[in-house]
Symmetry: C2
């Protein structure tokens, strides 16, 4: 089988989620890096008509949408299982991925972390009013992740899963902001989880220069 | 095992998605209907802190997020399988659910259908500028669904799946609008799919009075 090719911008949180899927499976893939402006270019729109990233090509199969890609990578490649076998743990994983996509990323990833951390690289200005407006949702999202994780070692229970993978790239940005530091100080279980997953080799292999983790 | 209880507003597209999951599985459940204002009330916020619907209770297990609920219902109850066994068909299903949540629902469900169809019930006014602004994304979403489905009988291949379930409640509203009628006229395969799935008993059992389907 041909190696998988992941198209995307190196450093993008959703691209990193897909990369972490491959890295954690120890599955062969190649990141085909594109510049920012290429997202709306003809070549990429043929792969992903909405102009978003990442997009996957694997042995004649073309797929976009990060959730679909990571689930596919887990199911199509050998390596450690990234979706719990237990039905209720799997439901928790799915719920957490939903919380990431609907509530946490739109407030933390798209606003707070984008403006405070990625702003320098991608020329996004910091708007304190916008940040203040999304902070309640950001705080609630992290409170829910902490509550759902409870005393488990990983977000969706006893095993590392796609739930952890979805939150890791965002947390690598968020921990650099005052809001993220306050969140980790407020939630010791979440902080303990982060100190456990941040040093995973998959994170080192996918690190862009503007994050520390 | 105790019956499942689904909390939500009758007629909401996401509540109907979850209901369709139960109906298609022929799994026992009860819809605990709430009025619109109760979504941000204390009782519901204890179940779903973001104030969204639906939320599920099943035998001591509380779960929110529609994707998580429908996947759980498919896996925890007897009845026809709603997620394809074939890995690539399942990836297509996941991609289509992503297209629904990220591109189709924000344009069609939240704007065009909400203003033109649900507007009367929920006192949402029609803003033609807003509708015009989201129409390109709405059209592209439906074009992608049509392309991905190809000549398959169902959206994600040969078997009825959660991909169909996610798009059915939105299409029941959309077909009532000029934009939706134009979309179905432009995409005969999509129109054929809709004429096949709309008469399913699960749709009749979950029909609110302001949709025809």
């Amino acid at each position: 089988m041909a190696d998988a090719i992941l198209h995307g911008i190196f450093g993008s949180p959703f691209v990193r989620i897909a990369q972490l899927g491959f890295e954690e499976k120890t599955a062969p893939y190649r990141l085909a890096k594109m510049p920012f402006y290429a997202m709306k270019g003809e070549e990429h729109l043929a792969r992903q008509p909405f102009g978003r990233i990442p997009a996957l090509e694997h042995d004649g199969f073309a797929l976009y949408e990060t959730q679909a890609i990571t689930r596919y990578v887990d199911e199509a490649f050998d390596g450690p299982r990234l979706q719990p076998e237990n039905i209720r743990d799997r439901a928790r994983m799915n719920q957490l991925i939903g919380i990431h996509d609907w509530y946490a990323f739109p407030s933390i990833g798209a606003v707070i972390a984008a403006q405070r951390v990625m702003g320098k690289t991608f020329k996004i200005s910091v708007n304190e009013d916008e940040i203040a407006a999304v902070t309640p949702q950001a705080d609630l999202s992290m409170r829910e992740v902490d509550r759902i994780m409870g005393d488990s070692p990983y977000l969706a229970g006893d095993s590392f899963s796609l739930a952890d993978i979805f939150f890791m790239p965002m947390m690598a940005f968020y921990e650099l902001t005052p809001e993220g530091k306050a969140t980790l100080a407020r939630h010791p279980r979440l902080a303990s989880w982060w100190s456990r997953v941040a040093p995973r080799p998959s994170m080192a292999k996918t690190r862009a220069e503007y994050t520390q983790t």
